[in-house]
């Protein structure tokens, strides 16, 4: 029997980039083991919503809650429970995947031994053994993407925020990623994916961001 985990809840969220309101009135509820697939046309705010969920940028209005706790009240705690994989792979051309995964997992607070074990598991799960000790500048775009994804397993975190995770991945890797997401959710983890591609996520809620386009909702010129 797992302890009951609080839901991640968005209420009436609005997001502003620069002086433009990108979406407004957006709400969702993501329970443990749940998945949320964000879709929408280019510029509809998928990446912005992910960054908002990661706590990088504050909502222009509305609330993001972890159970009954507002996320903004404990940003460090929120950061500690999530993984964010953005467009950029955050890889240094001069360093090897093994070095970089070890570095990031240590930065997530894992001890040296835990980190080493987690990194080996992550490398195996994403089939990176052959390239694990190459400098990243030798890696192909798909391999780099897999290294970026391997960070998900190099340190445990219950909430995964993935921005276009399938970009540059071949079919075998896509299937592998889907299996990893399923295993993560079976263990009570939750995932939010922004994607164009039809990602088969069983039982996922779908959020079409174009539905929240602020057509008539042009906010006051100044955020108040």
């Amino acid at each position: 029997m797992r302890p009951v985990l609080p839901d991640l809840i968005g209420e009436d969220l609005a997001c502003r980039r620069g002086e433009r309101l990108i979406f407004s009135g957006l709400g969702f509820r993501l329970p443990a083991g749940g998945a949320l697939v964000l879709s929408g046309t280019n510029g509809s705010g998928k990446s912005s919503l992910l960054r908002l969920l990661a706590g990088f940028l504050p909502a222009a209005s509305g609330r993001l809650m972890w159970g009954t706790q507002p996320v903004a009240a404990d940003l460090a705690g929120h950061h500690a429970r999530l993984h964010y994989v953005g467009h950029a792979d955050a890889l240094k051309p001069a360093l090897t995947p093994r070095e970089q995964l070890g570095f990031w997992s240590a930065l997530r607070g894992l001890s040296r031994r835990q980190a080493a074990a987690a990194v080996e598991a992550a490398i195996a799960a994403f089939a990176l053994e052959p390239v694990a000790d190459w400098p990243c500048r030798w890696l192909s775009a798909g391999q780099r993407r897999r290294v970026a994804m391997a960070r998900l397993l190099a340190a445990p975190a219950p909430l995964w925020l993935l921005d276009e995770p399938l970009t540059a991945l071949d079919e075998a890797s896509q299937a592998g990623l889907q299996a990893i997401v399923v295993a993560h959710r079976d263990g009570g983890g939750r995932v939010v994916v922004a994607t164009h591609a039809p990602l088969a996520v069983a039982g996922a809620r779908r959020l079409v961001l174009d539905d929240y386009h602020p057509r008539r909702a042009r906010e006051p010129v100044l955020p108040i």
Binding site: R51, A54, F56, L57, P58, A76, H79, A80, L82, H83, Y84, G86, H87, A88, D89, A90, L91, K92, A94, L95, E99, F103, W104, A106, L107, R108, G109, R151
Partner: protein
């Protein structure tokens, strides 16, 4: 402090892979100092008189040269996002990056400065004060520079903007740093200037990392 030393080590490792950057800083320092005698003339008396200023201004400009590399690569490849999300408090993460920057730019500058002091006829007795003043002063330059580097992330023409921002803020370390050497040269007591330099360093150490962290937060919004 999970990861503080790890972050310093990674940045140093990267600096080692791009050791050309450090070499460039040192080369710039050498070239700037060497150019002065051509402009001023080779008389030892004149050179010795202006040597403290030349050495400090040249070191300051050289330190300025590599500032934009402090946060920009991590900002561009997405690593900065992950640093914000890490367990390490962002102020300490900024401090780690500043420390690594100083070790790969300010420290080598201080260490090679005696060789250049010879070129501009600095009195040999003032040599230790030169090194000490640079060892105390260049960390302050890196700390202040770190704030400016983080503030200008994502700006157009980051390099020029960065120089404009740090120029007025670099006046105090320059005054006390060059002042210490000059006091020693003219038979005064350099201790007051050195203590003021140390005080600047202490203040910058306490405040700059948090200002840089706030700027990084803005940049990753």
């Amino acid at each position: 402090m999970p990861g503080f030393l790890g972050l310093v080590r990674r940045d140093l490792q990267l600096a080692l892979h791009h050791s050309g950057d450090t070499a460039l800083v040192l080369a710039f320092f050498v070239l700037t100092v060497v150019l002065f005698p051509f402009g001023i003339g080779p008389e030892p008396d004149v050179l010795a008189r202006v040597a403290p200023g030349i050495l400090w201004v040249a070191a300051l400009l050289a330190a300025l040269l590599s500032l934009d590399r402090m946060f920009l690569p991590d900002y561009e490849d997405g690593s900065l996002d992950l640093i914000v999300l890490s367990r390490l408090p962002l102020g300490l993460a900024a401090l780690a990056k500043i420390v690594a920057h100083w070790i790969s730019s300010g420290l080598p500058l201080a260490l090679i400065s005696p060789a250049l002091a010879v070129v501009v006829d600095l009195e040999p007795g003032a040599m230790p004060i030169l090194v000490i003043s640079l060892l105390l002063g260049t960390p302050t330059l890196s700390l202040i520079g770190g704030v400016a580097a983080a503030l200008t992330l994502g700006a157009r023409r980051q390099g020029v903007l960065l120089s404009l921002l740090v120029l007025p803020l670099y006046v105090p370390p320059l005054v006390f740093g060059a002042g210490a050497i000059e006091a020693q040269e003219t038979g005064g007591d350099p201790r007051a200037d050195l203590l003021l330099l140390a005080a600047l360093l202490a203040a910058a150490l306490a405040l700059a990392p948090w200002a840089a962290a706030a700027a990084v937060r803005q940049a990753t919004e």
